[in-house]
Structures are given as C-alpha cells and as structure tokens.
Symmetry: D2
Subunit: 359 residues, 4 copies
C-alpha cells in the first residue's frame, strides 16, 4: 500500500521511534511505500512532503524531535482546509494515513475519517492525559527529566535550608507532577485536579521545620490552582494574571513563581522557584518510551493492514489494542484515586492532615 | 505494631525506596516501630539489626543499594536455621516481618509463614521474571542502563563497520535483552527462551551487509543458548564451558565473548563483545522504579495492617494487589508472545526469516 | 592539629568532595582532628558545629550539596561579628580554619586573617569567574547540565521551526554561557562582557532562516545586557525592570523571557524561553569536578601544614598552587579573547558579521 | 582552498565535533571546500569519499562516532601505499589534508608530509597519553562513563560487602584509571606505570575490613601489570596469558578477572569484576570534550591557512598551539607525579603504606 505519515502538536520524545516502527514493519513485512507529510497537517494543506523509506528512518530511534517536524496547524479552522487535505492525499495516491498526535491532531483525523479518508491514529501527549490509553510515550521521559531536576534541586534545598518550588508540565492533569514528585521525594505535590489551600501548604512546610527538616521540596503542575475561597480571600488569582504577556506565552509569573512568593511570605523561609519548561519534552527518549513508541508504531501499521480505520492504537494493561478515535477524544484522563493514595501514603505529613495531595 | 524489615538476594535499584515507603507510611499513618535486620536472612540468623525510623530513611530514595545490606544466606539450608529465625524475631517482639527479595528470599518467607510467623513479601528481581507480578522494580533501571550502553556501542559499531555483541543480564528470561534490544535498535536479539542457530545469526548480519548496513548490534541475554543441533554440529556448548573458573564466577568466556568469536569466524566481519555485568544492577533507580518501589512498599505496610500474611504484593495492570506467596514461587515468568512479536516486527530482517527473535 | 572547616555562599557541586579530601588526608596523613562549622560563617557566629571525621565523610564524594550546609551570612556585617568568630574558634581550640566559598566568604576569611586567625581558603564559584584561578569546581557540572538542556531544547526547536532562548547562570561573567553555548551548538551566545544589539541578534536568526535553517538556539547568560544605544532606542532596560519583585528574587521576566519576546517581535518567528536556574548548581558533580574538588581539598590541607595562611588554593595550568587571599579578591575573571575567538569561529554566521559573540 | 579531511584509529567521542568545526570555520570564514575521505587512510588508498559541506555537518556535534567512519588501515604497510595516497589526493585537487587520529594515523601523516603533502594533524587518543598535548578530546567523556559505572558498582559493593574490580581502558597509561578512580572514590587504583604487588592490594583491602569498611572498589587499567617478583613467585603472568584467543581480541581473562580471582583467593572476600570495554569510547561527548574538540578543529583549519604544515594542534595550558608532528610521535605521556600524589593523598590507606598508587 502507499501510506502517508505525519506528526502533529507539541514535541514529544518517541515520535521518531513511532515513525521508524511504522516504516520498518511496513516496508519489510508488508511491502508498503510511504510519503512523509511535513509539519503535521500543514504539510497536507500545503503539500510539503519528504520521501520516507528505510534509509530515512535509519538511526532515528534514539533521537528526540521528529524527522517529519510538527506544527499546531488545524485544517478544520481554515476555509476548505479539510477539502484541500483530501485532495492532497488523493494527488499522492495515498491509500491510508497514519496521524500521530494529540487531541487536536486526532480531531482532524476524525473529521477526515468522516469524509472517507482511511486513517489510523497514534495518540501523543506528554502529559499522559488522553482518555482510552493507559500510557502514552514521552511521559516516562518527561518524568525522568523532572525527577533528575528535583534530585538536583534537593541537594541545594538541603544545603541552604530552603524551600524549592519545582514547576513541571501538566495543564489539565497532574500526572507528571505526581509521578516526579513521588520519584523525587517531594514534600508537597500540587496538581490541577485538586485546587490547593496555600495556607495549608505553608503549614505543612512549617511543621516539617518544627520536626527539624529545614528544607522542603514542592512540586507543582503548571495548571495547579489556588482553591476558590483562598483566592477570594488572598487575591491569589490576581497574582496569577501576572503571567500573561502580549504573546500569551512567556509565562512571566507562572504558578511556580507565585507559589514561591506566597510560601516565603507566609513562612518566612527562603523560597526559590525553578520552572522546567521545554526541557521536559525534548531529547532522547527513555528506554521505556522507545519500546512503547515502537509498539504504537507497529500496532498502527498492523491496524492499517487489518482495515481498522477511524481508530487509534491504545495501551490497555500490557497490550496494544485498537479503539475508535471518537472514544479517545471524548474526555481527558486525570490523576485517579490510586496515585493520589500513593502520594497520600508517602508524603511526610502528620496523620491529622487528610488531604496531603493538593493540600 | 513492631515490625521487622529485611532485604535479601542480589542488589537491585529501588530497594531503599521500598524500605522508605514501608517506614514512612508505617510510622506516620500506623504508628508502627521498626527493626531493620541486616544482610537479609543472615541478620535474622545472627541477630544483626539497626534501628529503622524516619531519620534512618531520610534521603535514601534516590540511592542504589540497600541501607539494610543484603546476602544470599538461606536459613533453610542451615541446621535449625528456621528455628533460630523464629527465636530471633520473638526475642525482638516482632509482630510481623516484611521480607523484600527474590525467589530464594521469599521461599524462606514461605517456610517461616508455615511456622506461624506473620510475613508479608515484596518481590524483587531485576530480571523481571517473577510469576504473579507484571513488573518488578529495578528492571526499568537495568533496561535504561543497558540501552544507554547499546547507544554508545552503536556509534562505535557504525564508525568501524563492526559487529558489536552486548551481553546483558537474564539467566532464565530474556526481558532485559528484549526490552533493551528493542530500545537500543539492535539487529539481533538472543534470549534464553529460544535457543539460537548461530549460522542464521551470521546470515542475518551478512544480509545486512549486502544491503549496505556495514555494522550490526547483537544483544544477547547471559542465559541465551546455542540450539542443540547446531551445538552438536559445531561444538558450541564445549566453547561455553570455557566460562567456568574454579570460583565459578569470573565469567571468562561467557556467551557474549563466544558469540563474538563465532560471528567473526563465520562472517569475517570484525566483531567485539561488551559484557555489561554488574553496572546493570547498581546505582540510582529510574523515576519509574522509584514510583513502583514506593508503591510496593506502601502495599506491603497496608497488607500488614490488613492481616494479609503469607502473601506478597504484586503489580497487576496498574494496581498493586495481594497474592499468596506460594503462587509467586511456583514458576518463572518468561518473555511471552507479545514482546516476541514486537521484536519480530521491528528487527531489520528480510521477510523470509520466520524467527527473527532467537533466530 | 585541630582544624575547623566551613562552606559558605551558594550551593556548588563538589563541596562535599573538598570536605572529604581535607578530612581524609588530614586524618590519615597528618593525624588532624576536625570540627565542622554549619551553614558557613553563621555556624561560627552561632557556634553550630558537627563532628567531622572519616565516618562523617564516607560516601559523600558523589553527592551534591554540602554536609556542612551553607549560608550567605557575613559576620563583618554584624556588630562584633568578627570578634565573635575569633572567640568561637578559640573556644574550640581551633588551630587553623579552612574556609570554602566565594568572594564574600573569602573576604571574611581575609578579615579574620588580618586579626591573626590562621586561615586557608578554597575558592568556590560555579560561574568560574574568580581571579587567580583557572578553573573552579562546579563549573564543569553546570556546563554539562546546561549543555544537556540545550541538546533537549534543540530537538524541540528543530521539530517546531522555533527559536529557543536558553538562559543560563552568569551574572558578571559569561563562562557558562559560552562553554555550554559552544558545546550545545548554539547559534547566538550572549554574555555580560559584551552588551548586545537585539536587532543584530534578530538579523542573524533571519539570515539562518533564509539559508533554510528554520530553527535557532540562543544561549544567554542571566547577566547579559542590551547595548546602551539600543536600550535607549527601544526601551529594553525598562523591560528588564519587570524582573524585580518585592523579594528581589523570583526572576519574573528575566533576560531570557524578554529576549524571547523581542526576538519574536522582530522576526515573527515563534520563540520560547527556558530558564535553567537552580538545576545548574545542584546534584552529583561531574568526574572532572570531583577530581578538581579533591585536588583543592588536598592542596588546602597541605597548605595548613606548610603554614601557608592567609592564602587560598588556586589552579594554574595543571597545578594547584598557593596564592594570597588578597590577590583572589581583587577582581573578577571575565571571558577572554580566546573563548570569544572560539565562539566567533564556530558560530554559524555570515562572514560580514564581525562580532558574532555578544552581537 | 580545497581540503581533505579524514579520521583514523579507534572511535572517540568528539570526532564529529572536530569535523564540524573544521568545515564550519573553513566554509564560512575561509570559503574552503572539503572532500571527506572515508574510513581513515583506507579512504585515501581506495578513493572512497563523501561530500563534506555545511549541510553534511549539521546536527553532528552531540553525536558519538564519526560521519567519516574510521579504520586502522596503514598505507605505509601496503606496497606503494603512500604513493597511492599522494596520487589520490592529487586526483581530487586536494591542496591540504587534515588528518585526525592517534599515533598510528599521525605517523602516516608524517610520512606523507615528508613526501610534500601539506598536512595538519589533530591528535586523538581516548587514553590521553599523547606527548605534546595536555588533554585530548574523548578522555573526559571516557572518565565520566567510567565514574558513573564505578558509582553504580559502589552501591552493589556496599550492599553485598563485596570487593568490586572495575577494569577501565588504558594500555600504556593509567589516566582513565587514576581520574575515574579518584572521581569514583576507589580504594585501590592500579595503573600500567606502576607494576603492583597483589599481596599488598589484598592487604589494603583486609585492613579496610578491619576498620569496618566491608566493601572495597578496585579500579584497574587494562594494561596494569603484576610486579615482576610477585609474578615469578605466584605465577600471575601465566594467568594473564589466559586472555589471548586465536583472534587476539576477545579479552577472556583480562586483568580485571584475574585480579578479582587473586583478591578473593587471598582475602576470602567475595569479589566480582566488571570490564567496561567499548562503552567507554562511544556515545555523545561531554560538554568539555565538545568544546575541546571544537577548539582542535578550529585550530587545525587556522593552521592550514597559516601554512603550519607538518604540524599538529596541541593543547598547552588553556591555549591551542601548533607543534611539529614529529614531536608528538616521539613518546607517550604517562601519569605523572602530580596525579599520583593526588591518589596517594586521597586513598583510604593507613599512613605506613608508602605506595598507595600501584601498590
């Protein structure tokens, strides 16, 4: 078969491993040929392609980024965008398309599927928050990077008797925060799923001090929020507005910086913030992510040859299965009770505290 | 409650994380006190203990090894060994014991359970081959280390047009080999589960050469074996006997070295072996292993307070559950069809080869 | 002899290695005994000490931070501060003191030396900007961390056709920026030594684009400054004032964020900033820093026994030598012509640009 | 100018960084064009080349290996080999050749220089043992890898009360062993420069045991040797002969394995060996090596344009200088008194031992 491949949305370690697996199994086992569309849907809209064969994917397994590059271009938001996509695919004689991306990328895939394009999706979200799949590639790498950063910050916190706030990725779900927080031995973990009471955070840190632990590590997801009543009382949401600039991206005064300020204000303990940002989504994938991404790629090419169109590959337990694209797009997967219980069990808080996560 | 804790068997990244989770949740949530027995069952036999409280476990999460040290001492093999163990535990007023270890350590736990000692087990095997549990801590770290080594060796193989053989751990099961082999982009993966035909290995490498790929990476588990007919024909098993020395340990002429020799003999291509050995089981655990080990520790202390004695914690899907010790000891878990299919799908072999794994 | 040891100023990988070397050689070769003063000069002011012997320094070589903790407390700024220090040292019978720290810590050492206290200094600055010594420990680790971050960011920049700005440490000197920028393959490197013209930075990036390099990496030292004329013209210094908050530390709107905004404004290319911050000064030291820190520690204890008081250890070429404390404090060491030429030679800029560094 | 470039000898992290620096500065600043000869001198002998321009060197800085590949082919050992080389270079119109390699590669460069070929050398030896230059690229990376391995092995040694022997590279010089041994906190370091007395090694380890340090780390360079009298007495050299196989390479029974056996035999302590082998010379270079390799490359292209032919670039202190090829080839640089004193100062040995290094 003649197949198209594209990667859309934010960078994520493992994208190249998916592409490689698709092309290797497709070429060797199914005698497929491939066209690589560049920069996600933009490449389909603007007909930007590269040849994609065994030579093109040689050596890319350990590399971050994506040889097909990526963008957030959404054809559904352009006039005739979807029609142009269908036409481009036809002009190349593409029999089926493998689209690797997150919510937004796959929502376009769904729309093209509705128009009769044969599409298989591969889910991608470094935040690990896609419904329908247990783990997505890239997440393990991000957690490892965040954990290593927390380890580094730990020694400094301890040397200086300081509170260190580490802001990690996670707009809607706290998976990276809760995993890296537990792995890094954080003392407080704050996630979007549970708005937090800043006074209780400060109290936890003060109590550690009383027990002779003169430093504390707070891991906070970028999407964590002050609880409403506290916000009303202390004006915290106003503070958060500092973070917006005219481009809407520079993250001046994000939650990490605000939190550091508010903790220092309440406890009097020297507090510093570190915002990990983009280093969490680049670079060579972990072994776990390389294997997982490879499995997603193999599942996708098999799905093409099984005729599972309008579907995406999903990890369930230890198996890759095929699920309808529509199921995956319906809702976000947030941190569940199981991991909250783990955090509650391991955090160094006195027993009277009932909400150690998102305190 | 007053509880004992010990770690037995080979070193494994994550042991300290388990101990820390047990002691933190036990101390803070259940008001338990702890006695640490040193060097596995030897500490119980010889009554060697250390105090184990919150201060003792502070800062140990990221550290390899075990603060309780370990040994392979088996009380069941000493006269009155089990009786002495029971007596030591009684003398300390130990109400229940948490034993962290592999097959051998847990088999002693089972025997003490039969004598009425209240015991909870935590499985430990870097090879990931324990029946009854999907993943054991330490395995992910070992796979990451092996993968990083394969990455390094890759650049050298390519620069020199060489075949590089990387020998990884795995006596009875090829989990580390197959995961690190896939993650490292190996061209041939040899595992104990499938005795291999050295001539077919050589043939695969020669065919890569014909297609212009002048280097190859072979990942071999230490327990991989030549297939019987080939062994008879070529005398390979005889070669393997070179590996034994008077202490039975120095691994002179292990499978990696033999394989390198036999590949070079057959193909004429320069071939080198690297034996990773002990670096795979030491050092700081990966984030995945820290979280997993923490979860095992929390599950164990909860099991103690739920009265789940004679049982061990086990990972099933994404949940920690309690299973009888006897179930865990009954058989080894070897690499299954799912991962073999992954390897078969991704390995760079012509379609006519039907057994790409363990060829 | 009975000796005191303290560490002052900011955290720096290698502090524990210095302490260990001092105590090991002192204990084993000279039969010295040691008192550890906690938290820099604060420990001397407030008489906070810990025992410091071979057992205390076992296992600390690979660890970041300092077992003696640190602070920025300056006794010279307290009433009778220096007198109190002299008295504390006498009360412990300290015959000589080894002070490990930066400018500020060593300036106190100098003042105590003037009062007759026998003092040997060990220079510490992660920025590598201390006059009198070629390399200081911690710098190599910081450069490795920054380089690894740039590597990660590189893949994302390339995948997204983005400009990525990476802000690294370096208030007065651009050593970390220029080394990590060269090691990470940056396209523009901005350092405090050369105020930069933002329009020329934007121009360089635009020219890369014209040559088909759709991404760029800018490495900027936190102390880099817009050149005066441009600042007057564009109001850039005003923008920089955004960075100050009421605690003077939260780094809202530091140079990295401002630079990203200004580049995007001028080029129209999507630009993102990453501020590495504290992860550069924590965690396990690199091998280079462990050896260097060990050498500094050994030199310091030898200097004590040679009677080289009022002096500090310094690296000159490949040798550790003793230089007067006063010489070290006199001026900062900034990036010299040699490294600027290296950057100028390797940066991917058209030949007509004459000032590729600090453009 | 039209220039040739080649890399010869063993793989070494930083080769790509040298090539990139040569091509970037040559192309951008001098308007040179380049021909890449493949696989060292073999490419010149057999006229195997690739185009070498800015596009070819994009993205190679962080990668191990060499895009020009390498070999140990020596034209001086082939009939008319040198004449063929001269002819090939003329046929391409090569005006000058940059040869990157070790002793052997540069000895050919010297011979071609004698025949009038304009040649500039760049020294390469991961062992850091080339006369005339203070540091060579690749060495720092190798030391970091070895140190990380020692760190890992440390936790296992401690957990098991074991002696661990780590064999690192270094046939004629112990630079990697002494640096990684000091950085990794080894208890005994054995280097080729000082034949060792196995009984004294065993004695040191026994004494540690007596002081309650139940584990020991021995770092040994592959070229370390038993001292003659001991060898005669104990037959140790005979044991070493086990290491040779018919291909002369498989390193069965190298010094690490023999040493482990002899230590266990003498002390009765469980002892294990790890042979790091090829993982020390592959993979991404450290930041230090990337900067150093870049500087060597820039120096080489500048030397070409300054007409410094028959010379090689060398690091002296912090400066790159030009020295005659002949000077570099005259002798090996072995570990000097300075580093031996460092090891002697830091090793955990009782004062009565006078030769702690190479005991």
């Amino acid at each position: 078969m003649k197949l198209g491949v594209l990667t859309g949305g934010g960078d994520c370690p493992g994208l190249n491993a998916v592409i490689r697996a698709v092309v290797r199994k497709g070429s060797v086992h199914y005698e497929d040929t491939f066209v690589g569309f560049l920069e996600g849907w933009r490449g389909v809209l603007e007909n930007k392609t590269i040849p994609l064969d065994l030579a093109a994917v040689a050596g890319i397994l350990p590399r971050g980024g994506t040889i097909l590059r990526t963008s957030r271009t959404n054809p559904a938001k352009k006039p005739d965008g979807l029609d142009i996509c269908v036409a481009t695919l036809q002009s190349h004689g593409i029999e089926a398309l493998i689209a690797i991306g997150g919510d937004d990328t796959l929502s376009v895939a769904k729309k093209l599927d509705d128009r009769g394009v044969k599409i298989v999706g591969v889910p991608k979200t470094i935040d690990n928050d896609l419904a329908g799949t247990d783990y997505t590639f890239g997440f393990d790498t991000a957690v490892n990077i965040a954990t290593e950063a927390i380890d580094r910050v730990h020694t400094t916190a301890e040397a200086h008797n300081r509170v260190m706030v580490v802001e990690v990725m996670g707009r809607d779900a706290g998976w990276i925060a809760i995993h890296s927080g537990i792995a890094g031995g954080a003392d407080v973990i704050l996630i979007p799923e549970q708005p937090f009471d800043i006074d209780r955070v400060a109290d936890t840190i003060r109590q550690r001090h009383l027990r002779g632990r003169y430093f504390s590590i707070v891991v906070v997801a970028e999407g964590a929020k002050f609880s409403a009543n506290v916000a009303a009382q202390h004006g915290a949401p106003v503070l958060q507005d500092l973070g917006k600039d005219e481009f809407g991206h520079a993250r001046l005064g994000g939650i990490g910086a605000i939190l550091a300020r508010e903790i220092e204000r309440r406890t009097g303990f020297e507090t510093r913030a570190v915002v990990l940002g983009h280093i969490q989504r680049g670079g060579s994938p972990s072994a776990f992510d390389r294997v997982l991404a490879t499995r997603y790629g193999l599942a996708a090419i098999d799905m093409v040859h099984h005729g599972d169109f309008g579907c995406m590959a999903a990890l369930r337990g230890n198996s890759l299965v095929s699920i309808p694209l529509a199921d995956a797009l319906s809702k976000n997967r947030t941190v569940g009770q199981e991991m909250m219980d783990v955090a509650a069990g391991i955090l160094d808080v006195p027993a009277q505290h009932e909400q150690p996560v998102g305190k």
